[in-house]
């Protein structure tokens, strides 16, 4: 019986003008957005590769100089394209794509793509993820609002039920019919998209397939939830018009109102640190350690005395190594700890905001889906933190090698010490290792849990709505 109802509903939906027009538009948008995103990704990747190569060449060909001066010359770390950025660009336009690594300072990533764009970005970006998050639920609303309410209005629902059709089977059949119609529309696109995306991903992310499968699962839960709610509302409303009004209201709340409201409220509860305070706190802490470039610095003087005492010498020129190199090493170690501490606090705060926003997905499932989608696509805040922290590790290692060279190889008091390409080549280019699956899972688990709860809840409600229909014939 369920199959018969489902096939009939599928046939009706397939013939429905709304499905044909809406479906065609949706398919066109998904294809266009996919192709454009693909092109953009390839362009970004090519530009990034060219820049990485040029910067590496600049580094290698910087000429002979003091190894610590090379630390000031510094280098850039460029962020690799996220594994599935062609599907969901996430926060990529709103975070920097490169960071300058230099001695003594941890710099923030710079050049937000959104800064090089017009105000139009505020309307959102045409991506496959946006279409699936916003437009497919709208199509579901338009297809499902009349599934049962229209039958009720026409009087055919009463007839069906009085013939002994089980309301649960009827509702499940209607649900499956619309789901099949949508699947016929979307599954081929998803299959082609997943196949194309599985061939991408830099640095050979070993979790790419797993990411894609979980993405399909997350979107399946979300769209399934929406369809179950839509059919349940249709089962409960007296008129199709009432069902439509209610469903459009729910859609608008979920897709338009909730995202901004939630992020804004979260900002009130968990405020973003202020840049001036952040900079001031770092500057204050840095003053507590050695300033390698200020001979009057009290911490440096103390450190000098301690080092001389440790080696039983009277003068830094008598030490068996270049004292300036040691000072730079110590100063870099201290400043890196200060930066590490403050940046970790800032990231923790921002991630706490994102976690809180995800939890508001309990009220609007799109918020949970958005988190899951960005995390699985590798375009969320945590992925950006992963890049920022990895580039900082690279900077610290870089500076350690350069300062150790100065300490070990320059003669004490030798201000004319120079090294060249041999040392520069010893320092490897920056490569971002893929994020461990456990870390990705930590970002995504709560969101998937919420989506799962919505899915289960919506089906329970659908079942209860079907049971309630029995009363109509009684």
């Amino acid at each position: 019986m369920i199959l018969t109802i489902a096939l009939k509903e599928l046939r009706d939906t397939w013939r429905d003008g709304r499905f044909r027009i809406g479906g065609t538009l949706l398919v066109v948008l998904l294809i266009v957005s996919g192709v454009l995103a693909w092109q953009q990704n390839e362009r970004t990747r090519a530009e990034r590769d060219a820049a990485t190569e040029l910067d590496r060449r600049n580094w290698l060909e910087q000429g002979e100089k003091n190894s610590h001066s090379a630390g000031h010359y510094g280098l850039y770390a460029f962020k690799p394209t996220a594994p599935l950025a062609a599907f969901d660009r996430g926060v990529e336009p709103y975070v920097g794509s490169s960071v300058f690594l230099e001695a003594h300072r941890r710099n923030a990533t710079s050049f937000l793509p959104a800064q090089d764009a017009t105000n139009m970005r505020r309307f959102g970006e045409l991506t496959a993820s946006l279409s699936l998050q916003i437009l497919v639920p709208l199509l579901i609303v338009l297809l499902a609002f009349g599934a049962l309410a229209a039958e009720r209005e026409r009087g055919t629902l009463r007839q069906l039920l009085s013939l002994g059709v089980d309301p649960v089977q009827l509702v499940v059949g209607k649900f499956l019919g619309i789901a099949l119609a949508l699947a016929l529309l979307l599954v081929p696109l998803i299959a082609v998209g997943a196949w194309l995306l599985s061939g991408t991903g830099e640095a050979g992310d070993p979790n790419l397939t797993r990411r894609i499968l979980f993405l399909i699962g997350a979107y399946g839960l979300y769209l399934g939830t929406f369809l179950a709610i839509a059919v349940a509302v249709s089962a409960r409303c007296r008129t199709g018009r009432g069902a439509l009004a209610l469903l459009l209201g729910l859609w608008a709340f979920n897709c338009v109102l909730a995202p901004r409201l939630a992020t804004d409220l979260v900002e009130q509860w968990v405020p973003t640190p202020q840049l001036a305070e952040f900079d001031a706190a770092i500057a204050a802490d840095l003053k507590k350690g050695i300033d390698g470039h200020d001979s009057r610095d009290v911490h440096l003087q103390k450190f000098t005395q301690e080092t001389l005492a440790k080696h039983g010498k009277q003068n830094v020129m008598e030490l068996p190594f270049n004292f300036n190199g040691l000072v730079m090493l110590e100063s870099e170690k201290f400043s890196s700890e200060v930066y590490g501490h403050h940046y970790a606090r800032m990231w923790d705060q921002l991630e706490a905001q994102d976690r809180a926003t995800t939890l508001t997905g309990a009220l609007a499932p799109m918020l949970a889906l958005r988190t899951a989608s960005m995390a699985l696509s590798g375009t969320d805040l945590s992925q950006h933190r992963h890049f920022a922290d990895a580039s900082e590790q690279h900077r610290m290692e870089f500076m350690r090698v350069l300062n150790e060279d100065l300490m070990k190889n320059a003669r004490p008091g030798d201000h004319g010490y120079r090294v060249g390409r041999t040392l520069w080549e010893q320092l490897p280019p920056f490569v971002l290792a893929p994020r461990e699956w456990d870390a990705v899972w930590a970002s995504v688990a709560a969101a998937l849990g919420i989506l799962g709860a919505w899915f289960a809840g919506s089906f329970l409600w659908l079942y209860m709505s079907a049971r309630r229909m029995r009363l109509e014939v009684a």
Binding site: T52, D55, T118
Partner: protein, 459 residues
């Protein structure tokens, strides 16, 4: 009792309508409160910067009254170039959270491309956008409005009361137009009131930009009323009318703007920032390697600036190197500016593809948080950098200290607002364009309803 009053009375009897109006008021209030908070934060940040900068400048002037100073001491942490917080910022956050509103100009770092900083921000919040008044007016206002007016006659047609109403001699056009006006008026009045209220609370007062903003919002509201009328004229059921109205909202507020964004960015792609930094380093490496040659050429070209004995120190070399970097990089920076300006031109040209774009651009423009004001700031900062360079560079090269006579010539930045006529021209044309679009939607309705079409409406 007129038809208009009757419609109003009937509408206010519906609890759902009251709930919708209450929700809209809450949204407007929240948007205004958010805008006020943002404006206050911007004002405080600007005040702190101004106080710090003026205190430092005063110290420099006082010191110069007493003695000559090394120019480096007068430079401090850089000359402040500040974009003053706009008076009507409460209306729209625009790009204020993305673009730097101040920059410190330091003579020897004028070629550093990342000097302009924005505050710390959660990228997820930047992606989502703020819940400001512009969001309520552009995104939510039409949704709320359509929820009130999507069913102008279809429901009556289904219940048979439409036939009764038309049989009493009321023309179809009059019935529907009065009905749409009556049902749309309370929501539109609330939106307009919110703009005026926000202007008064935000300290802008009832200035001309505020009235233009109300005009834009009114035109935008009329457009959506026209869409509702259109959907009612050409559909048979309330559900179909709601479907058409909902689809129109998605197309005009979501699909067309995102498509335009794609067109804009594909037609005028920005050069690569990654390549920019790599090229900048290449240029700086090259200039540093040739620093001796550069400084010698500079002093040959400018013998009047050469220090005694032609022996350049580190800073003088650095200035010569920086000038060379500037020469190499200027065409690349210009390319960024040109592409962005071209993108904006395309947006301006195609903004009437969707009234949401035209209205949002106009509100951001009037709020002073749009492209043009930030563009003016960037241009003026570039000119100020040149002024700083021209003032200090000869002093550094000739190793001349700053003296009392230099006080009036010390560079200082004062932002010059764009000509108000230009802003008014853009925003008034936006308003006129949206009104024209509304009329375009009304024309087929008038045609359908005027040709003795009462029968068509009922059947």
């Amino acid at each position: 009792m007129s038809l208009f009053q009757l419609e109003l009375r009937l509408m206010f009897r519906e609890r759902a309508v009251l709930a919708l109006l209450a929700l809209f008021v809450l949204s407007l209030g929240y948007g205004i409160a958010n805008g006020l908070e943002l404006a206050e934060r911007q004002r405080k940040e600007a005040d702190a910067l101004i106080i710090e900068s003026s205190q430092f400048n005063k110290q420099v002037r006082d010191a110069l009254e007493r003695q000559a100073l090394d120019p480096r001491q007068a430079m401090g942490s850089g000359h402040l170039a500040l974009l003053p917080p706009p008076g009507f910022a409460v209306l729209s956050g625009g790009q204020a959270d993305l673009l730097p509103s101040h920059e410190r100009i330091i003579l020897w770092r004028t070629e550093d491309p990342s000097e302009g900083k924005i505050g710390l921000a959660n990228p997820t919040q930047l992606l989502t956008g703020r819940f400001d008044l512009a969001f309520v007016l552009i995104w939510l206002f039409p949704l709320f409005l359509l929820a009130l007016i999507y069913d102008l006659c279809a429901g009556d047609r289904e219940s048979g009361t439409l036939r009764l109403a038309l049989s009493r001699g009321i023309g179809a056009w009059k019935l529907l137009s009065v009905r749409v006006l009556a049902r749309g008026t309370p929501m539109t009045a609330l939106a307009l009131g919110a703009v005026l209220f926000a202007a008064l609370l935000g300290g802008e007062g009832l200035s001309l930009p505020v009235w233009i903003a109300t005009g834009v919002v009114l035109a935008y509201g009329l457009f959506w009323c026209a869409v509702a009328l259109l959907s009612n004229c050409f559909t048979r059921t309330a559900a179909a009318a709601a479907t058409v109205a909902g689809a129109a909202w998605v197309i005009f507020v979501m699909v067309i703007p995102t498509l335009l964004n794609v067109v804009v960015e594909s037609a005028h792609p920005m050069p690569s920032r990654a390549e920019l930094v790599a090229k900048l380093r290449e240029a700086s490496g090259d200039a540093e390697r040739r620093s001796n040659e550069l400084i010698n050429t500079f002093y040959k070209d400018h013998p009047e600036l050469a220090p005694p004995g032609m022996q350049a120190d580190m800073l003088q070399r650095r200035l010569a190197v920086q000038e060379e970097i500037g020469r190499a990089m200027d065409p690349i920076y210009k390319e960024f500016d040109t592409e962005l300006a071209d993108q904006q031109q395309v947006v301006e040209r195609w903004r009437f593809a969707s009234p949401a774009i035209a209205a949002y651009e106009a509100l951001s423009d009037l709020a002073g948080t749009g492209y043009w004001r930030h563009r003016a700031f960037r241009d003026q900062v570039a000119a100020f950098k040149d002024a700083v360079f021209e003032f200090y560079s000869p002093k550094f090269h000739k190793r001349q200290p700053l003296v009392k006579a230099d006080i009036p010539m010390l560079p200082s930045f004062a932002f010059r607002e764009e000509e108000s006529a230009a802003v008014q021209g853009r925003t008034l044309s936006a308003m006129a364009g949206i009104l024209a679009l509304a009329l375009l939607c009304l024309a087929p309705c008038a045609l359908r309803l005027s040709r003795g079409a009462s029968g068509k409406l009922v059947s």
